[in-house]
């Protein structure tokens, strides 16, 4: 405090920064590490370079400011971007009972015909441990316990697609995207086939699992 006070008040205070410099013609004797430890040998010379009080003070101020800004800014920035790195942990959610569907459940007995329905996934939504979310899907029963669960969202920009039973195609209402009955792109801007959910059948109930993407030959590309 007193030191800084002096700095601020006294006009002609000139702090100096010491620096070490090796003179041109100095050479080391064998065994001398050049650290000047051997008494009296003038291997190294202390030179000083003076800077103005104003430069010293504004430089110090700038560094202190930078330190404070990063001390507050780094945690704040980390907290701000952290949500972008959170992944949803997909869990199994019941879609429908197969033999004897409940009152609000879809009848999935028709084979090879996409049925529009939805299931309720309990997702972790920030501080809500199990927030119910409605997931609209097309379910196709292939018979023999085989199912495909399509996400209704078009892979272009996410408009919900419609199934047309006459042409047996999915149509996106937004930019004329067309998909065949297996979700392959037939026309329009969608970059990849319709996304799907994992499925399993347990005790006569169809479950939907994680959402995944497929490539043009319908092979799974995301875990």
């Amino acid at each position: 405090m007193r030191f800084l006070g002096k700095l601020l008040r006294r006009g002609a205070y000139q702090p100096t920064l010491p620096g070490l410099q090796v003179p041109r013609r100095a050479h080391r004797a064998a065994g001398d590490k050049g650290d000047g430890a051997r008494g009296g040998r003038p291997g190294l010379r202390l030179v000083t370079e003076s800077i103005s009080r104003r430069t010293f003070l504004s430089g110090t101020l700038a560094w202190i400011t930078a330190a404070i800004v990063s001390a507050v800014g780094a945690p704040v920035a980390t907290a701000l971007i952290w949500p972008a790195f959170q992944k949803s942990k997909g869990d199994w959610s019941p879609v429908a009972r197969l033999d004897n569907p409940g009152p609000n459940q879809a009848d999935l007995s028709a084979v090879d015909k996409p049925i529009l329905t939805h299931f309720t996934a309990l997702v972790q939504d920030a501080y809500l441990e199990a927030a119910p979310q409605n997931m609209p899907v097309f379910v196709v029963n292939h018979g023999k316990g085989q199912f495909t669960i399509f996400d209704v969202r078009c892979t272009h920009l996410g408009c919900p697609v419609n199934w047309d039973q006459k042409t047996k195609k999915f149509y996106s209402p937004c930019h004329d995207g067309v998909f065949d009955s297996e979700g392959r792109v037939l026309a329009g801007p969608p970059p990849r086939p319709l996304d799907r959910y994992e499925f399993k059948v347990e005790k006569g109930v169809l479950y939907a699992g994680k959402l995944f993407k497929v490539d043009d030959s319908l092979r799974r590309v995301t875990s």
Binding site: M1, V72, P75, T78, A79, L80, A126, Y127
Partner: protein
């Protein structure tokens, strides 16, 4: 490279003379460490703004979610505890510093002519700071917040004549609940910052215009 890019900007905007006008000015010899309280108050305000804006990204001002979102922010979001406590302690510190600043001005008699208006604005800033502290206290929506606000509103209710109106206004109705939380939140993050920043602009420009008062 740094020097070159600052040159590039300088050539186009010419900010250096402006910066010089704002920052480079002689400080009178009689300025002491006691004159720092105002600036320190402003410093705590800056920290409150940064941490507060960040918390606004995570806080949900409804009775069913406020407490959970605060707990989640502290326990799950990285640095949540640090950021929230930085906000809390900066708030306490700001209130203390504001009073120290006022005490300094009082002792130095710096409120006298021609600086009376700046004293008045300073008092408005002081009251704004206190309302900030009061409204912010409710937002965590825990037992302490709820009952402290209850007491605060009852104090307002004991005002002669206007009392029951004031209490109803603060509560946003007959019960301390959703509307109370929402109006405290709106005051805390929208209305009060505008008042405070407006007041600060006036306060600072008057200090600059009139200079620092000579001590007695």
């Amino acid at each position: 490279m740094f020097a070159r890019s600052t040159e590039w900007i300088e050539e186009r905007l010419g900010l250096r003379p402006v910066a010089a006008r704002v920052l480079d000015h002689p400080v009178p010899k009689y300025v002491t460490w006691l004159h720092c309280f105002g600036g320190l108050t402003f410093f705590t305000f800056l920290i409150l703004v940064v941490t507060g804006v960040l918390m606004a990204f995570f806080y949900v001002p409804t009775p069913d979610h406020a407490h959970d979102s605060v707990q989640w922010f502290q326990q799950t979001v990285p640095f949540g505890t640090i950021i929230r406590n930085l906000h809390r302690w900066s708030a306490y510190t700001m209130v203390v510093l504001v009073f120290l600043h006022m005490l300094r001005v009082l002792v130095h008699g710096a409120y006298r002519k021609p600086r009376e208006m700046n004293w008045v604005v300073g008092v408005v800033l002081l009251l704004t700071t206190l309302v900030f502290a009061f409204t912010g206290y409710l937002l965590p929506w825990d037992q302490k917040a709820y009952w402290a606000t209850n007491v605060g509103i009852n104090i307002a209710a004991s005002t002669p004549i206007l009392g029951s109106f004031l209490a109803g206004f603060l509560r946003g109705g007959p019960t301390l609940g959703a509307l109370t939380l929402l109006r405290f939140y709106a005051l805390h993050v929208f209305a009060l910052p505008l008042v405070l920043v407006g007041g600060l602009l006036f306060h600072f420009s008057m200090v600059r215009k009139q200079g620092i008062a000579r001590p007695l």
